[in-house]
């Protein structure tokens, strides 16, 4: 199994866009982590007001300032923390809920499976933003509310994948062997089934993160996002929307970072999917960029 993983990683490294994406993601995560650890990366704090209102990019404020004179670079860095953590937490929540749900469905009998899949269908019948708005209003503003709302709409894809994998692998030989050895069902799930199913799940989760970041920014735009002065990229972008013509830097920089991050995750996800699928020929990556 570890051989498979190694070769997968090797294959991944051959895909230029995926590597670029990975690099960008890691850089942003490093910056976010440093900021979270309290290391000052800019001379200004994210909520520190100054008297230079709505200044354009300059040496002192590389990304300019907002209406209250706060340094945009500092806020974008703080926003990185929030946006990335929101994205990752949503992916984690989706993973947990989805895996458990899918595992039960795939493992249990066909009746329960059928019922649970109906449940997934119904969940798919509700447009995700709609559910998020309802839940967001229910739980009020604040990070927890948003995370729960985001998690509630992201688990279905993972559930379906896990279930499909489980159904497929359930009858494989090595599983039979494990049972023969006397291992409990839980053991089988955790030690054998899940690790094998991990590939496509990780790919799916890589797409959950950017989707969560985008959904969060839309929620902020509607007014259900985080409260000031907390600022995710989404909040920053939606605040800057009003000043598009007079002060485009307010919407430009946060949107740029959203774009880069989402793009990177998408490239990485595509790359992972190609790398993990043994049938994909990688020679198409030679002699040109793009996948």
């Amino acid at each position: 199994m570890s051989e498979k993983r190694n070769s997968a990683l090797q294959r991944l490294s051959k895909i230029p866009t995926a590597m670029v994406g990975l690099f960008i993601i890691l850089s942003i995560c490093v910056v976010a982590l440093l900021s979270a650890l309290g290391i000052e990366l800019t001379p200004f704090a994210y909520d520190q007001t100054t008297t230079s209102y709505l200044a354009g990019p300059s040496f002192e404020h590389p990304m300019g300032t907002d209406e209250l004179g706060r340094d945009l670079l500092a806020r974008v860095i703080y926003g990185a923390r929030l946006s990335i953590s929101i994205g990752l937490t949503t992916a984690l929540t989706a993973f947990l809920i989805g895996s458990v749900y899918g595992a039960i469905a795939g493992f249990a009998g066909s009746k329960i499976d059928g019922l649970m899949m109906r449940g997934v269908d119904i969940a798919y019948s509700l447009p995700d933003l709609l559910v998020m708005i309802l839940v967001g209003v229910l739980l009020g503003r604040g990070t927890t509310g948003i995370l729960i709302a985001l998690g509630l709409v992201s688990w279905m894809g993972t559930a379906r994948l896990v279930r499909a994998q489980f159904l497929q692998l359930k009858n494989e030989e090595f599983i039979e062997a494990a049972y023969a050895q006397g291992q409990s069902s839980l053991n089988v799930i955790l030690k054998h089934l899940l690790p094998n199913a991990l590939g496509p799940i990780i790919v799916a989760l890589t797409f959950t993160v950017p989707s969560a970041i985008l959904s969060e920014s839309t929620l902020s735009f509607i007014g259900l996002g985080l409260s000031p002065p907390a600022c995710s990229w989404g909040t920053l972008a939606s605040d800057g929307w009003r000043s598009l013509r007079a002060h485009p830097h307010l919407i430009f920089f946060p949107s740029l970072f959203i774009f880069l991050t989402v793009l990177s995750f998408n490239f990485l996800g595509d790359g992972l999917r190609d790398a993990l699928d043994p049938r994909t020929r990688l020679d198409k990556f030679k002699g040109g960029s793009g996948h």
Partner: protein
């Protein structure tokens, strides 16, 4: 494939160019005024919908006993003349005979009698019921102490004579008759249609325009009332759109899709860009923005805490971030109405604030309970409360949490159960300090602070009846000091300005510090032919 795509694009561009050329030719329609209301008015019943959006619509649909001139005098409207008798305690209004409702029936004194009684009726739960409290028996009837409507001193003596008896003389009373809540209503219409009487198909009005179309969350259309007693207005039609996004609305204006924009359609960055345009006008309003405390919630039941907060806010930051010439104020009476004495309110003094906070038991803000500041979901308000939050944090060390709500929910919350702090605003209903000071009496339905003081009520009542100008001013000043310096249930922040932009083909937009938008004197088009200027 590419050719096909290109072909489609050319079609669009050609079509678009034609559209643009036609824009150049005629970016407006003669006699049609397009404005932005911002939000959907919660309703048009002028007894229960008392926000400025509803008023803007109603004040073009209806006239009352009197109406405002541009200089804010009360001049005759439905009432041709009136007599002030018994030393100011009795008013006799003699109505005109040529004012009609849009269904042809004449406007009579019975319509006023019905409307005023309905305003005071407890079932109506009108927030502006206090408006008529000067009338004999009005307060008792409204609070349920008296169940007999005939004890209220208002009566239609005959179809064209309306008599009002006041408990004590009130200098400002005549102004009240120009304001929306006092407009007449038709008993038969209201009783027949009940909750739906303000729908376009049911509503009858007596003003310069009538309600012809209402597409919810989108637009209201008013058309000229040819039978209006002052003559049909020059405008054929007013289209009042509801565009909540200020920047979208402003872009609409720039694109000649709106003819007139005001504060609702201005974002701070837009002001910067158009400050120097000839279409831009900026003038002070009799509207104040303030921070309010819910004094029934700890720790704001302690006056020291409230005073500490008041002292910690440097109001000079507001005009800097809003950039529309706002006037910071620490007094509740606007300078234009005789207020603003520097000793009326608490200025910016952070050390004193910290001292008071320590005395209250929270040195440097330590241990201060979780505090919420409620504000409505409007762009500029967000800036103001963020700045306020920042000031409080920097000067007192207290972290305040900002909570925002959609406009209607915010209105409901401040009425029902506001959190410890909330941002509020008050625009004058008539040009007299009474309209401001009255707000914080114990019986005013718009006082959401839960603060009241018998002493304050007494001062206001005395001032209402006081005939001597100087004595009256002194009474209001004393009340102002109590409000802004001693008890401090509110922290006045700044006085607003109105910012408008008017297209060159629109004439006659009235400007007044009460922020009333009357459109009966407006014309669109009819300017010298061919003089169409491009938008800025």
């Amino acid at each position: 494939m590419t050719l096909f795509v290109l072909f489609i694009c050319t079609c669009f561009i050609q079509g678009g160019c034609a559209e643009e050329l036609s824009h150049l030719r005629k970016p407006y329609e003669d006699g049609v005024l397009r404005i932005n209301l911002g939000t959907e008015p919660p309703g048009l019943d002028w007894h229960t919908s008392t926000d400025s959006t509803s008023f803007d619509v109603v004040s073009n649909l209806m006239v009352g006993l009197t109406q405002y001139t541009n200089e804010l005098e009360a001049k005759p409207a439905c009432a041709a003349s009136w007599e002030v008798l018994d030393g100011g305690k009795r008013y006799l209004f003699h109505l005109r005979r040529d004012v009609f409702w849009t269904d042809g029936k004449p406007v009579t004194a019975y319509d006023f009698e019905f409307a005023w009684r309905r305003l005071l009726a407890p079932e109506t739960a009108a927030q502006y019921a206090f408006f008529l409290y000067d009338i004999v028996g009005a307060r008792a009837f409204n609070t349920g102490a008296s169940k007999d409507v005939n004890t209220v001193g208002l009566k239609a003596l005959d179809p064209y004579t309306f008599e009002v008896k006041l408990a004590k003389p009130a200098a400002y009373f005549i102004y009240l008759t120009a304001f929306c809540p006092s407009f007449p209503q038709r008993k038969d219409i209201v009783e027949r249609y009940k909750d739906r009487w303000t729908e376009p198909e049911n509503l009858v009005t007596n003003g310069p325009f009538k309600l012809s179309y209402w597409q919810h969350e989108y637009k209201i259309e008013l058309t000229a009332n040819e039978k209006f007693f002052e003559g049909a207005p020059k405008l054929k039609r007013i289209k009042m759109f509801m565009v909540p996004e200020a920047s979208t609305a402003f872009a609409l204006y720039e694109n000649n899709e709106l003819d007139f924009v005001d504060n609702r359609s201005f974002s701070t960055p837009d002001v910067e860009r158009f400050r120097h345009s000839p279409q831009y006008k900026n003038f002070p309003l009799l509207r104040a923005y303030y921070l309010a405390f819910n004094v029934s919630k700890k720790p704001f039941d302690n006056a020291d805490v409230r005073r500490a907060f008041a002292l910690s806010i440097d109001r000079k930051v507001f005009p800097k971030i809003l950039r529309r010439g706002e006037r910071p104020t620490s007094s509740w009476i606007p300078p234009a109405l005789g207020g603003g004495g520097s000793d009326s309110g608490l200025g910016f003094n952070p050390e004193e604030g910290r001292r008071l906070l320590a005395r209250a038991g929270y040195p440097d803000g330590k241990g201060f309970p979780e505090t919420k500041l409620l504000y409505p979901n409007r762009e500029d308000v967000r800036l103001v409360v963020e700045a306020t939050q920042d000031e409080i944090k920097r000067n007192l060390g207290v972290k305040v949490e900002l909570v925002n709500q959609e406009w209607k929910v915010y209105l409901a919350t401040t009425r029902k159960d506001p959190p410890q702090m909330f941002r509020d605003s008050w625009g004058a209903d008539f040009p007299d300090p009474e309209t401001f000071m009255n707000l914080f009496t114990s019986y005013n339905g718009n006082n959401h602070t839960r603060w009241h003081s018998a002493e304050y009520d007494r001062l206001i009542e005395a001032a209402e009846g006081e005939q001597d100008k100087n004595k009256r001013a002194e009474l209001y000043r004393r009340a102002d000091v109590m409000l802004c310096r001693e008890a401090v249930p509110i922290v006045p922040a700044y006085l607003a300005t109105q910012n408008i932009m008017v297209k060159p083909w629109v004439k006659g937009i009235a400007i007044n510090p009460l922020d009333f938008q009357f459109f009966k004197t407006v014309t669109v088009g009819d300017t010298a032919a061919g003089e169409v200027s491009k938008s800025p």
